[in-house]
């Protein structure tokens, strides 16, 4: 290689591996930040191995990728053999075109098209859920197939056509000729196809996002759903492990392949190696098939399953030395009811995301945790079941301020889980104390280019409406136009429209002012970089919200669901959740508890529980309510208008 070529190759490798290096380094970060390195630690590796949900997602991802790769390789190879021998030109062209479709269709279209069909067919047959592991598997096989076919076909074309015929003339049966002569010839194509299918399936997010169903969550989806809270270095630790595993595997296969690497002998060796590889591939294939069958059939749980659908990072899950609430429930249930249950826990990224999945009939859950305005909507649309409070005696601990709120005036459908409000977080080292106090800080030109705004329409419009003194639930389009004008006016000052990115940007000092939920301020303040001093206030008019447990009409086991809700109100899990999430807790066992107050600290208690007596009043005045579908459509259009500027 020439020197210039070497330098160029090195530069390309630098580009390819720079982000990987970042992953490796930050996986050893002692703090929770992904942008401020504060010391070496193996903490996040320990965390990773304790995180049953993430490990489950890894297992799901592998099972899905292996199944999809093996099945699409088998079907794709057979298809390639068939297509290769097609005599009819028309038929051949037709197959080529169809095979090309998933490749030249963006994956968002492949995902949507399959989702529309599954949901439609599911509805037609009145299935409780139309999306599940099998629909995801179908989707993955479908987008892997063309890649396999396109790897195998050229190998068939390169093969000497007289080879199989010669074998048959020498007395082979056609099947034997195919097995002994053709397969080894096209083996490299099959292996490449298998690897490609596996890789594509492993990394796919978009198609999985649209076709994911009940309780079967892959790693990319789990990561995406962390977008209201934060992506932790745990995920970097996982990526680092994956990186080294792959590296080791590749080095090993390379060593086997090249052996005592003398290039002259290569040709001879290659045929021997290809035979070995054929056997190896068959061996691996067989092991995989058996393993898959074992996982799918033996692994199927026989105990009752409770399907819980919650926000990402919204439960104390045993990470960072917290109490594992889901495990706690399974133990508690066994101790109190005498038999085992299993919690199947899945996460969503937003109320709308959850609603879209549930209302299409794509999924079915036993317990969900929507926010207030979404509860109102689902109640009006008949999507919720009234609760049997005899099964939820712990409801008595819910503070009076959190009862009889507008979304559930008679306390029939919901049990409050958390409450919080939107406030403003700022870096006291850069923001003048005199400029703080109300929403105007987000519009202050002094901080141009350092302000963060919500990247979700309702919350972003809310900030403008509270600032202008408008009703956030107005059904007058003019009010929304006025809010849009304010957001447009703010736009040149805004550094970024964010959700979970807010953590990194505030912790590292990348931005100086943001608006986010009060409880998240404590998480950011814990991880702030040297030189950053975060502070918080809530403007007088702001959004108060409650997230509550509900049982949707698609619930399969209502008593079990109610037992779960009841358990979540017990002292130990309730305190653990409140400390993990850092939002306000409507449970008296928690907010009247001395140990909890001590753990949270004085500042947090003051911010989260300022004066609960007038909570109800403020809530009724300022909280988001459900808007008509027409109004929601208008807001969506206005939001797009803002975002295209």
């Amino acid at each position: 290689m020439k020197t210039s070529a070497k330098i160029y190759t090195a530069l390309i490798m630098l580009f390819l591996f720079a982000p990987i290096a970042i992953l490796l380094i930050f996986s050893f970060n002692a703090a929770k930040s992904l942008s401020v390195f504060s010391g070496f630690s193996l903490y996040w590796y320990r965390e990773l191995f304790r995180d049953a949900e993430t490990l489950g997602a890894v297992r799901n991802t592998l099972v899905l990728a292996l199944s999809a790769a093996v099945l699409s390789t088998a079907m794709g190879t057979a298809a390639a053999v068939g297509i290769f021998r097609l005599r009819s030109k028309v038929l051949r062209a037709a197959y080529d075109t169809v095979t090309n479709i998933p490749m030249i269709n963006p994956d968002i279209i492949t995902g949507i098209s399959l989702m529309l069909m599954f949901v439609f067919v599911g509805r037609l047959f009145g299935a409780a859920t139309s999306l599940n592991f099998w629909t995801m598997l179908i989707a993955h096989i479908t987008f892997c197939l063309p890649y396999v076919i396109l790897q195998v076909l050229p190998k068939l074309q390169q093969m000497d056509a007289s080879l199989p015929e010669a074998a048959m003339d020498l007395g082979c049966t056609p099947f034997r000729a195919f097995l002994k002569v053709e397969i080894p010839e096209i083996m490299p194509g099959i292996v490449t196809g298998l690897i490609m299918a596996f890789t594509l399936s492993l990394d796919d997010f978009v198609i999985s996002y649209f076709t994911a169903g009940n309780g079967f969550q892959t790693l990319p989806i789990r990561i995406y759903n962390m977008t209201k809270k934060t992506v932790t270095p745990k995920m970097y630790a996982l990526s680092t492990i994956i990186f080294f595993t792959i590296l080791a595997l590749l080095i090993m296969t390379n060593l086997i392949d090249t052996g005592p690497g003398v290039e002259k002998q290569e040709k001879k060796e290659r045929s021997a190696a290809s035979k070995r590889r054929t056997k190896l591939a068959f061996g691996i294939g067989a092991v995989l098939a058996v393993g898959m069958a074992a996982v799918l059939f033996l692994g199927a749980p026989k105990k009752p399953v409770l399907n819980v659908y919650n926000w990402g990072e919204y439960i104390s899950d045993g990470s960072e030395d917290s109490f594992d609430v889901l495990q706690g429930f399974e133990d508690w249930y066994l101790a109190n009811y005498g038999h085992e249950v299993e919690v199947n826990y899945t996460t969503f990224a937003s109320n709308e995301d959850m609603y879209a999945k549930l209302s299409s009939g794509a999924v079915s859950y036993d317990v969900i945790v929507p926010s207030d305005y979404m509860i109102a909507r689902m109640r009006e649309e008949g999507m919720l079941l009234p609760l049997d409070f005899d099964n939820i005696p712990n409801y008595q601990y819910i503070g009076e301020s959190f009862k009889n709120l507008y979304y559930d005036p008679d306390n029939l459908y919901s049990v409050p889980y958390t409450y919080n409000f939107t406030g403003i977080i700022y870096d006291a080292n850069r923001v003048d104390e005199a400029d703080t106090g109300d929403w105007d800080l987000l519009w202050n030109p002094k901080y141009a280019g350092q302000i963060l705004q919500f990247n979700n329409s309702r919350d972003a419009f809310g900030t403008a409406q509270y600032k202008l003194g408008l009703d956030v639930n107005s059904d007058d389009p003019a009010d929304w136009q006025a809010a849009l004008a304010a957001l447009k006016e703010q736009q040149p000052l805004v550094k970024s429209y964010v959700m979970d990115e807010v953590y990194n940007m505030m912790e590292s000092g990348e931005a100086a002012v943001c608006t986010y939920y009060a409880g998240d301020y404590f998480i950011m303040a814990d991880a702030q970089a040297p030189g950053v001093e975060l502070s918080f206030y809530a403007p007088e008019r702001t959004n108060y919200f409650v997230d509550a447990f509900c049982i949707p009409t698609c619930c399969q086991n209502k008593e079990l669901a109610e037992a779960f809700i009841n358990y979540m109100l017990e002292y130990e899990p309730a305190v653990a959740n409140a400390e993990y999430i850092c939002y306000g807790c409507p449970n008296r066992l928690v907010y009247e508890d001395g140990a909890y107050a001590e753990d949270m600290g004085e500042e947090a208690m003051e911010i989260l529980y300022p004066n609960l007596d007038d909570f109800g009043e403020k809530y009724e005045q300022f909280a988001f309510r459900n808007l008509s579908p027409a109004m929601l459509g208008t807001i969506n259009t206005l939001w797009e208008e803002l975002k295209i500027n």
Partner: protein, 285 residues
């Protein structure tokens, strides 16, 4: 001869499962996209969704723009820029690879593929850490007492994300075509008086065209429809066609989401057909 007929039958049968599968899970779902695109919430026929894509306007500072046409134009622009950069960066590396010793080829190809095995969302996240104003890149520049650069939240950052994520898809097909190319052709051209540029223009490039076409397809298509990269690296300021589809899906507006998807699909299919035709005509010449 009987045996051979049996063989032919077996091959027909081998094609069967795929034929059925392609029909059920490739063709029929596309019909569903069309069906949703041309119906309203009660599944009555309408062309409103399609019309909305072409006619919806928004006013800003007195200037009227076509909302979705603008979004589409932007997505196309960023995708084309990313594809061109991928091609310019990837073509030389594919050539270098194909002319290296076999062992080096193997190692380099492996290295190029490794990032594809790391989760795509996590990779994009890592780029945020690098490109932020207070990020790794700028710390590095400051260390060298150079002026920091502002990249995150610009079109440049979105393009970097797209180039990074789809780069291997450009290299691999071009490399595999070049690896099969006869090196003697180059030598012959040189002997006949071609300079290096002439060899590239008259010999190497035309022969590698099939690889280039599939590389371009494999980069252009995913970058035109991405909705995660623009959210993370564009600071939420670049609303692309993928964001629009996802936004309508989350807003439970399935029919309009399907309409946008349908239009995008038709435009891409026509574009790809034209490109294929161009490639075929070049190959014939």
């Amino acid at each position: 001869m009987k045996e051979k007929n049996g063989l032919r039958l077996a091959r027909r049968l081998a094609l069967g499962p795929y034929g059925l599968w392609a029909m059920l899970f490739i063709l029929v779902p596309l019909l569903f996209v069309a069906y949703y695109a041309f119906t309203d919430n009660d599944f009555a026929f309408t062309t409103d969704n399609i019309a909305r894509f072409f006619t919806a306007t928004s006013v800003s500072d007195g200037v009227v723009t076509h909302t979705y046409l603008l979004i589409f134009w932007r997505s196309l622009k960023l995708a084309v820029i990313s594809t061109v950069i991928c091609l310019l960066m990837g073509y030389p590396i594919a050539y270098i690879l194909s002319r290296s010793p076999l062992r080096t080829q193997k190692i380099l190809i492996t290295l190029i593929m490794i990032p594809m095995w790391m989760n795509f969302l996590i990779r994009t996240y890592a780029w945020m850490t690098i490109l932020q104003d207070t990020g790794i890149l700028n710390s590095f520049l400051r260390l060298l007492s150079l002026r920091p650069v502002h990249i995150i939240g610009t079109e440049g950052a979105v393009v970097i994300g797209m180039v990074y994520d789809y780069f291997p898809y450009m290299i691999l097909p071009i490399y595999s075509v070049m690896a099969k190319m006869d090196v003697r052709l180059e030598e012959a051209a040189r002997d006949l008086g071609c300079n290096s540029f002439g060899v590239l223009r008259r010999v190497i490039f035309p022969l590698s065209l099939p690889g280039v076409i599939s590389g371009v397809t494999m980069v252009l298509i995913p970058s035109i429809s991405t909705f995660y990269i623009s959210q993370k690296l564009g600071n939420g300021k670049f609303y692309l066609i993928g964001d629009a589809i996802e936004g309508q899906y989350v807003a439970n507006n399935l029919h309009f989401a399907a309409a946008i998807a349908f239009i995008l699909m038709v435009i891409l299919l026509i574009g790809m057909a034209l490109m294929q035709r161009y490639a075929n005509s070049r190959a014939a010449a």
